[in-house]
Assembly symmetry: C2
Homo-oligomer: 139 residues x 2
DNA sequence: TTTTCAAATGCAACAATGTTGCATCAAAAA
DNA sequence: TTTTTGATGCAACATTGTTGCATTTGAAAA
């Protein structure tokens, strides 16, 4: 949950104009804990043109503020990056979890570092998507 | 690489009619080591209707013969399942690797079992997608 | 071999996602 | 306040994926 002012500041810090759709998108993403599917974002920002929304998403992904949290399949989900991300370093040390009960997709930090090694392959990036039941739905 | 006859037999074993597009799709998939993106499959089977291709892909996925090897993002890739898969058990103990040099997507078996645990979450399925440089492109 | 019929196909139509070009507009700097 | 670069809206387009329905065909039964 970020205030409108801190969102505007955050954008300008990263050399992005603080336009209404950008502020709207970032407040939407910041007021949720989970990632949001494209269709729902569009629904929430339907006063803006769909093309502009796509350009906005891409601009913010480019700027290291937003990332896709796809979870293989149907819809594309979007979530806020940690403040550590930037245009030039856009790495995530978390997994994406899709709950089969509530269907929420969330970014989850895990303790164990995932180390994959394959003989004669050079590993650059590992992404892990997990399905299961989230803590809220478990209890 | 499977012969046309063994493909037909394989389909009938799983209660699927051995139609031309199914045989065509399976020979295409079996003559490659890597997964194939949808667009390329369509290009190779363009004598068939696009709708039929989609229905074929779904039927074979349903039957435990083919699986998606998505590798987060743009295109959907398809690959043959191991012969162990079936309609009712469709599990894969391998990762999907996308080479940033040759852009091939492949199913790669790894030795280490990936164990993810998150406190208070129930894990059902873990899928791992890795980017890097494949063995062919490394040497 | 011929008959039969459920299953598979092709076609038309549709919906959703995503992209590009271009004229206009506005945020932030000068 | 003016300037100007970058952001927006609109039209048009491409691709992916789905559904309904009439027609055809694979494979089993007769
Ligand atoms: Mn994430
Ligand atoms: Mn695979
Ligand atoms: Zn849940
Ligand atoms: Zn390669």
């Amino acid at each position: 949950m970020m205030s409108e002012d801190s969102i505007k500041e955050y954008l300008r810090e990263r050399a992005l104009k603080a336009t209404p759709i950008r502020v709207g998108l970032l407040s939407l993403l910041s007021e949720r804990e989970s990632a949001i599917p494209y269709s729902e974002i569009q629904e929430n920002l339907k006063s803006f043109d769909r093309v502009t929304l796509y350009r906005t998403l891409n601009a913010l992904i480019d700027g290291g503020i937003v990332h896709k949290a796809s979870t293989s399949g149907d819809e594309t989900y979007y979530a806020l990056c940690s403040q550590k991300c930037s245009k030039h370093c856009h790495k995530h040390e978390h997994i994406h979890f899709k709950c089969t009960a509530c269907h929420e997709v969330s970014c989850v930090h895990i303790e164990q570092a995932i180390k994959i090694s394959i003989p004669n392959f050079q590993i650059e990036e590992v992404s892990v998507e997990v399905k299961g039941v989230c803590d809220k739905c478990c209890k």
